[in-house]
């Protein structure tokens, strides 16, 4: 493992506005190695990847490929140098066939200049066979394939471009366990053929099984690069987090009271199946699970966006029928969505208008809105949640991600909820705002609010929750108390399958 690096980045820096996302990071990839890239969400991994694949240009730093300095202006430039990326959200065209996707943009031509479909299909077949995927039909439309199959099409696409470096961004995040094993064997095979692989993942097991070297970055800075044999899991976690989890997630003690929300045998489609749990006053119940495990779908069902088909929901011990978000809101349920731009905010409107949007009836005198009362409430919220803004009549689109998130939370606190559902409350917010949001959660549970928190960040789930509910395939696969909640136990439940008692 001492070959010269094929691609090498030195002192890469990048800022967006005033935010310094990468600070002089070094990184390199050698042919025939798997180099794992580790870091918390928001540490700067995706920015680094995007520079290597030509999507972002660095503000500073030198990037050399095969010994010569390069300056990518587009992903095409990167592809020409043999760098290909398989993103988490796969970029395939569902209506086109596998073969059409694999060679999209560089179809082989016949002498007449038309696309040589025969060669396209033969070469695609060949590439898929190299990936041990003889079952994949080159003429199948991509929309008929599973996620794992689509991923292999993406890899074939990269190989079709003669990739020397393959960047894989959390390739196993949405795969089930059997597909993970298969993907790992594909990765090993590619490595043995001399492809350099940049492997981004949060899963320690995979990293220790696959990687030759590992690089950790934190808050945009390079922490360490070492051979996998020289470190163990604890080393990596402490490098990633930089402090102990307890100090990062200041869990505040709150008195846990009587049940507020009881869910019994809830059903809604294949991602919400037979779900039962109880949430108590002053409690934070974390929901862990992989992408596609049904966490968000469960939240949407409880909140009435996609009402339940079967099962019971009880609020304060009384059976309720939640048929719409309006009904859920009136019952004291609040939902801070996963995607604040899509479901949280009305961006052309002002902070004030967004803050009072769920409680307009409370700030109106029968017919008209009371301007003074509305402004007073908005100012209160801005101060209480330290929303950084110029004025309350500023449109929310001008705010940073963290402050936008606080506006969504403020809107729901105006309703004085009994149950607050937070779906990825700190995704895409900076470290400071994240800590503030966590301390707001602490304040709320002290006041007796019950919080249901969905998070993809395991440290957040473990650090903030009193109890952890783990979901997989639309079902609950584990319910673990704070004291017993270790990354291993939660991780195991995340990939577990409850097959024996599946409905029908």
């Amino acid at each position: 493992m001492s070959a010269a690096p094929y691609a090498s980045l030195k002192g890469m820096s990048k800022s967006f506005g005033s935010v310094n996302v990468l600070k002089a990071v070094d990184f390199d990839v050698r042919p025939g190695e798997v180099h794992a890239l580790l870091g918390e969400n928001g540490a700067g991994k995706s920015t680094l990847i995007k520079m290597m694949s030509g999507l972002y240009k660095p503000d500073e730093g030198a990037f050399t490929v095969d010994g010569e300095e390069v300056n990518f202006n587009s992903t095409r430039d990167a592809a020409a140098k043999g760098i290909a990326t398989v993103y988490q959200e796969l970029l395939l065209f569902p209506e086109l066939s596998v073969a059409e996707n694999v060679f999209l943009g560089n179809y082989p031509r016949t002498s007449a200049g038309t696309i040589d479909w025969k060669t396209v299909r033969e070469k695609t077949r060949d590439l898929l066979d190299q990936l041990d995927s003889p079952e994949l039909d080159v003429d199948a439309k991509v929309l008929t394939l599973s996620v794992a199959q689509r991923q292999r099409v993406e890899i074939a696409k990269a190989l079709g471009k003669k990739a020397r470096i393959l960047i894989m961004d959390e390739p196993t995040a949405s795969l089930v366990e059997s597909d993970v094993q298969r993907l790992m064997s594909v990765v090993r095979q590619l490595r043995d053929r001399g492809v350099g692989i940049v492997y981004v993942s949060h899963r320690m097991a995979e990293i220790f099984a696959l990687a030759d070297r590992v690089t950790v970055i934190r808050d945009g800075a390079h922490v360490a690069t070492c051979d996998i044999g020289d470190v163990d899991e604890d080393d990596l976690v402490s490098m990633m987090v930089g402090r102990s989890i307890e100090s990062l997630f200041p869990k505040q003690e709150a008195n846990i009271g009587e049940p507020v929300l009881e869910v019994r045998n809830l059903h809604r489609g294949h991602l919400v199946r037979d779900i039962s749990f109880t949430l108590r006053r002053g409690e934070i119940l974390g929901i862990a699970g992989l992408v596609g495990s049904g966490r968000t779908e469960l939240a949407l069902t409880i909140f009435g966006m996609t009402p339940a088909r079967e099962g019971e929901i009880l609020i304060d011990g009384k059976l309720v029928a939640i048929t719409s978000p309006t009904r859920a809101r009136d019952l004291g349920i609040a939902y801070v969505p996963e995607d604040r731009g899509l479901q949280g905010l009305v961006k052309p409107m002002t902070i004030k208008q967004n803050v009072t949007m769920a409680t307009m009836a409370n700030v109106s005198s029968g017919i008209f809105l009371k301007a003074g009362e509305e402004a007073r409430r908005a100012l209160d919220a801005v101060r209480r949640l330290s929303i950084r803004c110029r004025e309350i009549d500023q449109t929310v689109s001008e705010l940073s991600g963290g402050n936008q998130q606080k506006v969504v939370i403020a809107k729901w606190l105006e309703t004085v909820p009994k149950v607050l559902i937070l779906d990825e409350p700190t995704r895409g917010v900076d470290v400071g705002a994240k800590a503030e949001i966590h301390s707001i959660m602490g304040e709320l549970v002290k006041q007796g609010v019950a919080i249901l928190m969905i998070s993809s960040e395991l440290p957040e789930v473990l650090g903030m929750s009193d109890r952890v509910l783990v979901m997989s395939g639309g079902q609950v696969t584990g319910e673990i108390d704070r004291a017993d909640a270790t990354p291993e136990r939660v991780g195991a439940a995340m990939t577990a399958h409850r097959t024996k008692e599946t409905a029908e």
């Binding site: 307009m360 402004a375 689109s397």
Partner: protein, 329 residues
């Protein structure tokens, strides 16, 4: 207000009144300035332009467009569109005139177009909100049905011999033409309603981000049906002005009326993408069209240029809107 200024200190507060006006009513101010500028320039060229007679023509003769544009603005702000309103006004005018000629009480002949307009548009609203058919498709269909139905039923006959009590658009109160009073009062009421009620606010929220409005507990389906119904009521009120200004009611739909109404909304600052704009803007834009139309005559330019000028205004306005959105994001 019970805000304790001292405790706010350096934290954000409400911004100054004039600045808010400038930011929130940018397009309205531009349209208003254009009207004033036109008046000044054309009056210098031809002083008869500001004669009382011509002013009455400008304001009163086109008030029905402004009234219909109020409802249209509400629909567009909510994120929808209605291309059938011209045909609807044609149908409602025939219903109203027929009732008046047939000897029904005058009040009934006035009330009928408002109620029928609400009924027809509620149905459109239900198709849009519950059957989830895009409003452009539903109203294109409605336009064909209303137009075709009108010609078939009337056989192309005009309604004449309208009773004089029916002709409200020709009346004056306190020496002010009735259509002008209609236009001003309805615009002011609708503007207050849109700006200062939870209902109006929810329309902006739905147009600005339908998903977020739904996830905030705003009943968007019900609001959608209601905004179409209200739009139908304004179409009915516009019909009263339209049907009573001349001694005859033609059984054909005024050509391009729906486009003129939609254009008034858009030039008045209502974003075609929904979520922003005011009814004050659409009323001022309706006045602007009337002023341009009249001005072209007074400076001896063919009135056919009116549509071309309005077309240019539409493109300029939409470009400006896109610009503003891009600058913001």
């Amino acid at each position: 207000m019970t805000v304790n200024q001292a405790s706010i200190g350096a934290t954000p507060s409400r911004s100054g009144f004039l600045r808010r006006i400038a930011v929130e009513y940018g397009q309205e101010l531009i349209v208003f300035s254009a009207i004033i500028a036109l008046f000044i320039v054309v009056s210098i060229v031809n002083p008869r332009f500001i004669s009382a007679n011509n002013l009455t023509t400008i304001f009163a003769g086109n008030a029905y467009i402004a009234v219909a544009a109020i409802g249209m603005s509400m629909v567009i702000i909510t994120g929808h569109i209605d291309v059938s309103v011209g045909a609807l006004i044609g149908v409602l005018a025939t219903i109203s005139g027929s009732l008046a000629v047939a000897g029904y009480p005058i009040w009934f002949a006035w009330l009928a177009p408002v109620l029928v307009g609400m009924a027809i548009n509620s149905f459109i609203g239900i198709l849009v909100a519950y059957a989830r058919i895009p409003s452009i498709v539903v109203t294109l269909g409605a336009m064909s049905i209303l137009r075709g139905g009108l010609i078939s039923v009337t056989g192309g006959d005009w309604i004449t011999d309208l009773p004089s009590g029916f002709m409200i658009a020709q009346k004056r109160f306190f020496d002010i033409p009735a259509p002008l009073i209609f236009m001003v009062v309805l615009t002011v009421l609708a503007a207050l309603w849109m700006r200062h009620t939870p209902f109006g606010r929810s329309l902006y929220a739905i147009g600005g981000n339908k998903e977020a409005a739904l996830a905030t507990g705003i009943p968007i389906a019900r609001r959608t049906v209601m905004v179409f119904a209200i739009h139908g009521a304004f179409a009915g009120l516009a019909t009263i002005l339209f049907a009573t200004q001349l001694q005859v009611i033609q059984s054909t739909v005024p050509p391009n009326l729906e486009l003129t109404i939609i254009t008034a909304s858009v030039i008045g600052g209502v974003s075609i993408l929904g979520g922003t704009g005011t009814v004050i803007g659409s009323t001022m834009a309706a006045i602007l069209f009337a002023t341009i139309g009249s001005a072209l005559i007074f400076v001896n330019v063919s009135a056919y240029w009116l549509r071309a000028v309005i077309g240019l205004l539409i493109l300029a306005t939409v470009l400006a809107d896109m610009w503003r959105r891009r600058a913001k994001s």
